[in-house]
Amino acid sequence: MGAVSGTAEVLRWEIPSLFRWLGVIDAALQEVGQELAWEREELNEVSVAVIEAVSNAIEHGNRFEPARSVQVELRASGRHLRFRVSDEGPGFASDRLDQPTPSPESPEFMMSRGRGLFIMRDIMDAIRIQREAGRFVVELDKELKAPVGTGH
C-alpha cells in the first residue's frame, strides 16, 4: 500500500557522532525509498542531501563526540517529505543559508570545503534551522516530483 494520504509515516534514527555510522542512516534511507517507491533519481538526491545534514551534525554540531547523538526524523505524507536532523551543538546563524551557491565561473567554485549547505538547499525545496529542546535542528522539505507508487 502507498502512504495513506493525510496521515504521515514517521521514522526515526539515532546514531553516535562518528562518520562510521553514516552508512546506517544511508542504508535505512535506501530501504525507505524503495519501500515507498521513490523514483531512483529522487532517492539519490534526497539521500545526498540528508547525508550532508547528518555529516554536518556529526562534524560541526557534535564535533565527533560519540556520546553525543545525531537524530534523524522522516515524515512522509504521500509525496511530501520532511526530514529533521538534529545535534547537540551550537548551530549556526541563519544568514549562512542566504549566501548564493558559487557559480562554476567564480574563483570559490573549486573550494574543497563549504559545499554541504549549498547541496542541501539546491536539492531540497526548503531548509530551515531552529533550536528545539536543547537541540539544533535542520529541517529539510521535499515534494517528490514523481507520483509515489504502491511500494509493493
Binding site: 562518520f19 552508512g23 533519481e41 545526498v48 555529516s55 554541504g116 547541496i119 536539492i123
Partner: protein, 113 residues
C-alpha cells in the same frame, strides 16, 4: 575508504572502495597524489566503481587532488561513476569539471590527448 594503486600504459589508476567522506582519508589520498606528481606521474585516473557513496567532504578530497594535478600540468579523470555519485556531481555542477568515463579502457586511451 581504501585505495589501491596500479599503472596501466603510463596512467596511474587509484582503485577506491568504500565511502569517501573526509577525515583522515583526506590526507592519505592527497599524499598519494603528491607522491605520484613528484615522480612525474601526472596522469591519474580515479576508479570509483567500488565506492558506495561520497559526501561533500569526500568531494573536497577529489577536488584537492584535481587541483594539485592540474597545477602540475597533469590530468585527473574519473571512471565508473555510479548513479548516486553522478547525482552529487550534477547537483554541485562538478560534472562539468571532472572528465569522466564509463569504461577503464576508454578512460586510459583518453589520456595524453
Amino acid at each position: 575508504m581504501n585505495i589501491k594503486v596500479r599503472e596501466e600504459e603510463q596512467v596511474v589508476i587509484f582503485d577506491i572502495s568504500g565511502r569517501i567522506m573526509g577525515g583522515p582519508d583526506s590526507e592519505t589520498f592527497h599524499n598519494l597524489v603528491k607522491e605520484n606528481i613528484a615522480h612525474g606521474k601526472k596522469q591519474i585516473l580515479i576508479n570509483l566503481g567500488k565506492v558506495n557513496w561520497i559526501n561533500s567532504t569526500g568531494l573536497g578530497i577529489l577536488i584537492a587532488g584535481y587541483t594539485s594535478v592540474k597545477d602540475a600540468d597533469g590530468q585527473f579523470k574519473l571512471v565508473n561513476i555510479s548513479d548516486r555519485i553522478e547525482s552529487i556531481l550534477m547537483v554541485t555542477k562538478l560534472s562539468g569539471i571532472f572528465e569522466s568515463f564509463d569504461s577503464e579502457a576508454e578512460a586510459v586511451a583518453s589520456f595524453g590527448s
